[in-house]
């Protein structure tokens, strides 16, 4: 059990981090679909920087900056120029996917054995890490894990417990009303998308920096899309996302361990588990979970239509 948790927790970090980035912009009405590309780009940038500079923290920070840049392009094209969010998102997903491979090939080139970096070191919290079963997986982790825990609590506090958070959420629910109250709709959408996209890229960078130590094309393997499903499932709320991410991470680890588990079923069918489970969960998510009313729609303050 403890062993299983040790595998699940890092994957939980990935899902939580990327999903918090997604709901941050989603709450202001920006439906970001660039995750799959931005995570790949984050992985590529994070690896290349860590490899060249020898600093994993540098890799994470520059991955954040590059992800933020993609978010900036997305937000300028959708809030300022009011282009379709989904279409721009797709185009940026393609561009980011291309750029990820391009950067790696350009800096590293094609090698027989891929270069490897040292993964992040783990820090132990005294006493707590001695708790049986959960102590080892929860309190002996790298700093990204602790950052994600703090981020989730902080986002929850900001969104659900502060006046500024209420204003922030109102932008995604009813931008026209928010605007009439003097809330700057475009500003809220801009910063939330920039920061959110940066967090998504850091989640991508976590793959080479925590799991593998190497970068490979396609290492995100659809998790960027699962993150969007997770945001819907979590009703675009920070704490629900934390819980949902645990489910997604558990499924992910089961899928990865398919060949070891056996069960008499061809391993490919167990590997399908994360995706099939998500599809099933979506049936309920779209029936019960709420989403920001103006998710995915641009705001034109000169339009006479509601919203």
């Amino acid at each position: 059990m403890s062993e299983f948790l040790t595998l699940v927790v890092p994957m939980w970090v990935v899902f939580t981090l990327a999903a918090q980035g997604t709901i941050l912009s989603g709450r202001t009405g920006v439906f970001n679909v660039t995750q799959e590309g931005v995570m790949a780009l984050g992985a590529s940038v994070g690896f290349v920087v860590a490899y060249k500079m020898g600093s994993n923290l540098g890799g994470l920070l520059i991955a954040f900056a590059v992800g933020a840049l993609v978010g900036l392009i997305l937000t300028v094209m959708t809030t300022q120029l009011r282009l379709d969010q989904f279409v721009v998102g797709l185009a940026l997903f393609f561009a980011a996917t291309g750029a990820a491979g391009l950067l790696y090939r350009e800096v590293i080139g094609v090698t027989m054995t891929p270069p490897k970096i040292d993964t992040l070191t783990k820090h132990e919290i005294p006493l707590l890490s001695d708790i049986p079963v959960i102590g080892e997986p929860l309190f002996r982790q790298d700093y990204v894990f602790f950052f994600v825990v703090l981020l989730s609590v902080g986002l929850y506090w900001f969104m659900q417990r502060t006046g500024a958070g209420l204003n922030f959420r109102s932008v995604g629910e009813n931008p026209k009303a928010a605007d009439s109250l003097g809330i700057n709709v475009n500003l809220a959408r801009t910063w939330s998308t920039i920061v959110g996209s940066g967090l998504v890229a850091v989640a991508g960078a976590y793959f080479p920096l925590h799991f593998t130590g190497i970068y490979t094309d396609g290492m995100i393997a659809g998790r960027g899309w699962l993150v969007i499903a997770l945001a819907f499932l979590g009703g675009w709320r920070p704490l629900y996302v934390v819980a949902g991410a645990a489910f997604f991470a558990g499924m992910d680890v089961l899928g990865q361990k398919a060949q070891v588990i056996g069960l008499g079923v061809p391993h490919q069918f167990i590997e399908m588990l994360p995706y099939v489970a998500t599809l099933l969960v979506m049936v309920f998510a779209f029936r019960w979970a709420r989403q920001p009313a103006h998710l995915g729609s641009n705001y034109d303050r000169e339009s006479r239509l509601a919203g």
Binding site: F31, V33, M77, L81, L83, D84, Q85, F86, V87, V88, L90, A91, L92, F94, A95, T97, G98, A99, G101, L102, R105, E106, A221, G222, W225, L226, I228, A229, F232, P266, Q268, F269, E271, M272, Y275, V276, T278, L279, M282, V283, F286, R287, R290, Q291, A293, L295, G296, S297, N298, D300, G307
Partner: protein
């Protein structure tokens, strides 16, 4: 809770992006065409300019690289045949995206639908390998269409019956399909000698006849050409085509006027899946001769790019697909000649799309000023 809140987010506020820009001021046909074609030309030129600068900045020769990208399809018969062989899956995957888009739905699952179509086709081609071509070939192509349509049908049922966002369901089904075909290629009909997960070859009767001297062009190209005409006419002149476009333009008005909107949206996905499935079956029958892992290449992304660039015009779509096929064949040559990584072409294609989107704003500003 009202029904509006439960609907999956429809991206954008003003209907799908496929809606062609309205012609204003009763301007002449020539100006109309110019306003339509000019943004494409400008976007392509700008994207190549930016791409060229990037290539130069990376220390390669931009002229050599871009010349290879643009001309290698036309340099030899081999180049043209290969380009047309690439054109087939690209144009079919573009239909897989553009037909559901006409009803306002996004099919991001052409990859999985193509693989299922290839598997369905290969299953018939392997099981009945002794049948003569006159029976086997049509059966195989039909099986491919059905398998692709069935796979998209899962997303359609989830959408119509359970209101599950079709973007997510179609994408997730791609990843399920990768595992499924891996199982087919390693356990059901494995070819141990292939050195890569692949099925055993299909029977000779399941191969599309080749046209002309070697290297031959497979006849699937002609089939898709005929299909392209059929789709362009069908979307423009049949009641179903009209209803599909009406649902995309204004779902509410269509619903009030008695169009079964959600059923039509589901049908759009299924038809799109059939198109992608056909792409898979043709690739098996014409190019690969078997189903193998990775045969989906990057046709999903290319299909979406073409589908978005066509902006709802089923007439323009095959031509745009040809342009993209030229770039894609040229990408390989570029890497050989100028040693620029092939991903550069994907970046250029994404740039063309982004500039094309931006051109709307420029055009509206220009027209507003005029």
């Amino acid at each position: 809770m009202s029904t509006v809140e439960q609907t999956p987010p429809t991206p954008g506020s003003g209907g799908p992006p496929s809606a062609p820009a309205p012609r204003e001021h009763g301007s002449g046909a020539v100006t109309g065409v110019a306003w339509t074609v000019l943004p494409y030309v400008a976007s392509v030129v700008l994207a190549f300019l930016v791409g060229g600068l990037l290539i130069q900045a990376m220390g390669y020769s931009a002229v050599d690289a871009l010349e290879a990208v643009l001309t290698s399809s036309f340099d030899s018969r081999f180049g043209m045949v290969e380009t047309l062989h690439k054109w087939v899956p690209i144009v079919l995957c573009a239909y897989a995206f553009a037909i559901p888009l006409a009803t306002g739905k996004f099919n991001i699952g052409a990859e999985g639908q193509l693989l299922l179509g290839a598997t369905g086709g290969a299953a018939i081609g392997i099981t009945f390998s002794d049948l003569p071509a006159i029976l086997l070939l049509p059966a195989m192509l039909v099986a491919g269409v059905l398998a692709g349509a069935l796979w998209a049908g899962i997303a359609a049922v989830l959408l119509v019956r359970f209101r599950v966002n079709e973007v997510l369901s179609t994408v997730l089904l791609n990843f399920v399909s990768f595992r499924l075909i891996d199982w087919v290629a390693t356990s059901v009909w494995p070819d141990a000698g292939a050195g890569h997960p692949a099925t055993t070859p299909v029977g000779d009767g399941a191969r599309l006849p080749l046209i002309g001297e070697a290297p031959g062009l497979h006849s699937g190209v002609l089939l898709v050409l005929a299909l392209a005409v059929f789709i362009a006419v069908g979307m423009r002149f049949t009641p179903t085509g009209f209803e599909m476009r009406a649902v995309g333009d204004n779902p509410r008005a269509s619903l009030i006027n008695g169009v079964k909107t959600s059923r039509l949206a589901g049908a759009g996905l299924v038809i799109g899946g059939g198109a992608a499935g056909l792409a898979g079956a043709i690739d098996v029958a014409g190019v690969q001769g078997r189903m193998l892992e990775g045969m989906q290449s990057n046709f999903l992304i290319l299909g979406i790019i073409v589908g978005l660039m066509a902006r709802g015009s089923m007439l323009a779509l095959p031509f745009i697909a040809f342009g993209i096929a030229v770039l894609e064949f040229g990408a390989g040559t570029m890497q050989l000649v100028a040693s620029v990584p092939v991903e550069m072409v994907l970046v250029i294609e994404a740039l063309i799309l982004l500039f094309l989107l931006l051109s709307d704003i420029v055009r509206n500003r220009l027209r507003g000023a005029a």
